[in-house]
């Protein structure tokens, strides 16, 4: 069985690369990019199974990036990374195509669970 392909998008380079490495240790094919343009290019060239997308990046609205990702690759699931979330914002994000969200700093086990659930949805 092929590895789950995860794309991490976060302007905090250290955060993105470290989390990617931790996911690689857990047998995910994880890559990290630091800006939305790079993310969209990567989704276009090699659509990931799941995108972990930081909601707040400089000079951009994460929700707009989410919409563009879903336009390019509707099958890719997107999990938003945010400093704070609520039931209301979760519903708003789901309405524009987000699969789920995780609050930073998130526990690796909870991220892995969300990735597994995203893959279950993809394989249905």
């Amino acid at each position: 069985m092929s590895k789950t392909k995860v794309l991490l998008v976060d302007d905090e380079v250290d955060f993105a690369t470290t989390l990617a490495e931790r996911l690689q240790i857990r047998d995910y094919e994880a890559a990290a990019v630091c800006c939305p343009d790079e993310a969209l290019e990567s989704v276009k060239n090699d659509p990931p199974d799941v995108v972990l997308l930081d909601l707040k990046m400089p000079g951009t609205d994460g929700v707009e990036v989410l919409k563009k990702i879903k336009q390019i690759s509707p099958a890719s699931e997107v999990i938003l990374l945010t400093g704070h979330g609520s039931e209301q914002s979760a519903a708003e994000w789901a309405a524009v195509g987000a699969f789920d969200y995780a609050i930073k700093p998130a526990d690796i086990d909870s991220i892995v669970k969300k990735l597994e659930r995203a893959m279950e949805k993809r394989l249905k």
Binding site: E12, D14, F15, T18, L19, E21, G59, G83
Partner: protein, 215 residues
């Protein structure tokens, strides 16, 4: 919004800048610590790549250093609120505010440049009002500025007055900030309480504060 609401909103924005900043540092520290644990687990306690391990520890120390620095700025900002009029260094106040507003600038892909004069005498004023006034001016200038712009803040002292100049470099955005008129009212009130004048010429704002003797 009345002036008290505007000042509370200002404090709220400064606090959210701080919490976002520190939350990012904590997220990096958490992931780095987690990765170190993962490495030890995989190697069953034997650290094969010491260089990588020490690199991770250095990374943690760097993030702690950044979090400590911004916490120090917030701490000073908070303690200044306990006092009213006091003797302060104008340059320290500018330094503090720019450090705390760093996240706002970063989010808009803007940078701050400081051109602080040396040898300015200490000022006798209410630092909270000064911070609020400067914040209003910076915020409105930042609203007008497109990505990759530079906000320059300078300070000088001459003819018995402190002068704080704010100017910008880079492309302007057509739409001004939504809260411009409200901010303008708050700005005038703070300037009046500080006995300061604010002049706006072209792309430049100058706060002029006459020197006051401490009682």
């Amino acid at each position: 919004m009345n002036s008290r609401d505007l000042q509370l909103a200002f404090i709220g924005r400064i606090l959210s800048c701080y919490t976002h900043e520190v939350n990012n540092y904590l997220a990096i520290i958490k992931e780095t610590g987690g990765l170190m644990k993962d490495i030890v687990r995989i190697k069953k306690g034997k650290i094969a790549d010491e260089k990588q391990f020490f690199g991770l520890i250095d990374g943690v120390e760097e993030q702690i250093g950044r979090a400590t620095a911004i916490t120090d700025y917030l701490n000073r900002f908070a303690h200044r609120m306990e006092k009213g009029v006091t003797t302060v260094s104008i340059n320290d106040l500018i330094d503090e505010l720019l450090a705390l507003m760093g996240r706002l600038a970063y989010r808009k892909r803007l940078t701050f440049r400081k051109e602080l004069g040396s040898g300015l005498p200490e000022a006798v004023l209410d630092p909270n009002l000064f911070h609020y006034l400067l914040f209003c001016i910076l915020d409105s200038r930042m609203c007008d500025l497109d990505r990759n712009g530079v906000v320059c803040v300078g300070s000088s002292f001459s003819d018995g007055c402190y002068r704080i100049k704010v100017c910008t470099e880079g492309a302007r955005i057509a739409a001004p900030g939504a809260s411009e008129s409200e901010q303008s009212a708050g700005r005038h009130e703070a300037a009046s309480a500080l006995d300061a004048t604010v002049s706006e010429t072209g792309g430049e704002s100058v706060i002029t504060i006459p020197v006051k003797q401490s009682n």
